[in-house]
Symmetry: C2
Subunit: 368 residues, 2 copies
């Protein structure tokens, strides 16, 4: 067993556990910083290690296009070696990116024909090819290649998509050669019956973990939580669950309460670039004029490099001057916040106070 | 005395010494990373401290315009406090920037009328005002407000400019209220007679140090070194000399050989953004295709974070993806290189082997 549960919350679906990867054991729930191209945005990958992160999510599709997954394998041996990141790597297969980047040219029974968003070249990605790419990269967890239409697509399209995802998932599993973990992906848009069908498809194929795909794409938080809640009773308790692309701090807490163990999201890095900083007392928009004269850290209780060394007023000045250091400092603070939040969540589950912590956090965080 | 000399090289004008600032004593020669807006480009100011830098150069004119020097004084007390940099700060008065940014509207006897490059507002900068700005910022070394025409301007314009610089220098000195050091600036373009006149103007006014301004602006290295060489015999030996905006590694070595103690230059940070990395074996252009497969650090002997953690191939990939981390990693490596170079220079002067080190360095550095 690669996954074991330590504690389950009596008042919610929250649980703590441990997931065994190739080189490390990682405590769950955990959050993975997004490293699409093999680096986080605005800071270097070593900084993630210093903050305390243990697993990152990279994008197999992006790395296949540039610099090339075969290239990484042949010249460097693995993505770990290439990026200098020796801890855990989960690779997203790229199903979602193919749709969201508008790269899709044609869906074929065997896979998809895509046009590179970088150089316009045509490439065919099949489930087998996607797993080959991920195994060339040598990630610790690979994701099946899924069909990921918009969540508000017509019912018939979503039904077709979960059947296609099942076929592709089976092919992915069959083509697996490495000892790495492989996670299935539940699709089905906003329809609970389709989600249930898709979950059962994946469970039948018996994966090392189950991801919920296609959420956080405009369906609204209530729907996100409802789908999560329903899947909580279907997905096997003894396997880790990963909510892809989720989310905002409140989404993470609500998802943990519904049994989710693994998260990734661009929010901490992307919002830093837009001038938003997360703190336990609420979000700060660095652009606000009132921040100019503040001679205090972003979060007085935060222990990150940014908060230990710099004031809000200084960071606002750097942001106004369009200095890269502004983005870097806010990114580091946001990733520290996410790390600390998930740390607090684990701590509270182990202590039997998760629902109290959730309430305490949301009151402070949302009221400002 | 704020400056004392430890060792003078018998075969050149090179010397080591120590300059006393408000809070620290700094070994000379030293190099100051450029922090125009109160931050280095692409990395945060704390990283300069970790590399080992002790003095930075900030731009009084830029900080006057944004966020405002009075504002820094009133809300934060000083630029040290505002930026989180507790070691030495030299502020450039901004004479050069006013010309180079095209902000100059009119030269008046009392000073200049300028139009902000940020918001188009009109401001009058006088010598007295420039010193007030620098004292509001609380820098350790302030520079006189100088008239800085292009070095290839007509002789009559350059003559007028050194006379104006003398007048303004006198006013700067008279208006000084703090205990901080103040450096004069020698102008005179490419004409040795004007340079000599300007040097004597400054010496008559008795400053804590003497800067050579208006060099490295297209006059060519031979002319730069010639002017430097001639000034070496005029400027008082017991005061520090600062070659403003110089320079490339070879320029620093040649200038040290001609008695210069202090340097600043945008080259290590700007060239990083353009993909150029400095190493003791020569420059690396990260964009070169051959770098893609290199699984080795930029400089195998370098001990910076970049070289300890990342390969050339990975950094090239990040640069190709336009990731900020590429710029950040190359900037950090370049600033480490400059720090190590000046360290080696000081070491060799103290050991009586400066000219041998200069030859050894240039052979390795220029031959690749």
């Amino acid at each position: 067993m690669n996954f074991k549960i330590f504690n389950s919350d009596s008042k919610s679906g929250a649980r703590t556990g441990e997931l065994k990867l190739n080189n490390i054991k990682v405590k769950t729930p955990f959050f993975m910083p997004v490293c699409t191209n093999g680096t986080p945005k605005a800071i270097d990958i070593k900084t993630l290690d210093l903050i305390g992160y243990e697993v990152i999510v990279c994008n197999a599709y992006h790395l296949f296009l540039r610099p090339g997954s075969d290239y990484i394998k042949n010249s460097f041996g693995s993505l770990h070696r290439f990026s200098g990141w020796s801890k855990g790597i989960l690779t997203d297969s790229g199903g979602f990116q193919i749709w969201s980047l508008g790269s899709l040219v044609k869906i074929e029974p065997e896979g998809v024909l895509i046009k590179s968003h970088i150089d316009g070249s045509l490439n065919r990605i099949t489930p087998e090819k996607s797993i080959k790419i991920q195994e060339d990269l040598g990630s610790d967890i690979s994701m099946i290649f899924d069909d990921c239409p918009k969540p508000d697509s017509e019912y018939s399209i979503l039904l077709e998509s979960i059947n296609r995802t099942r076929e592709w998932a089976e092919k992915c599993k069959k083509s697996k050669k490495s000892n790495n973990l492989m996670f299935g992906i539940v699709q089905g848009g906003i329809h609970n019956d389709l989600r249930k069908m898709s979950a059962n498809h994946m469970i039948d194929l018996d994966f090392d973990g189950y991801a919920i795909g296609g959420l956080g794409l405009g369906e609204g938080p209530d729907k996100t939580y409802e789908i999560c809640e329903n899947l909580n009773s279907i997905l096997p308790k003894d396997k880790p669950r990963y909510s892809m692309g989720i989310g905002k701090p409140e989404d993470i807490l609500e998802s943990v309460a519904r049994g989710v163990d693994i998260f990734d999201c661009v929010v901490p890095t992307r919002n830093a670039r837009n001038g938003t900083v997360f703190t336990f007392n609420g979000k700060i928009n660095i652009k606000n004029a009132e921040n100019s004269s503040k001679d205090e850290p972003l979060d007085v209780q935060c222990e990150c490099k940014t908060c230990k060394n710099y004031s809000i007023g200084y960071i606002k000045h750097l942001y106004s001057c369009r200095e890269i250091s502004a983005i870097q400092l806010m990114t580091e603070c946001n990733l520290n916040f996410y790390h600390k939040l998930i740390d607090n969540i684990r701590f509270s589950i182990d202590n039997g106070t998760f629902m109290e912590y959730k309430k305490f956090f949301l009151e402070r965080y949302l009221n400002e």
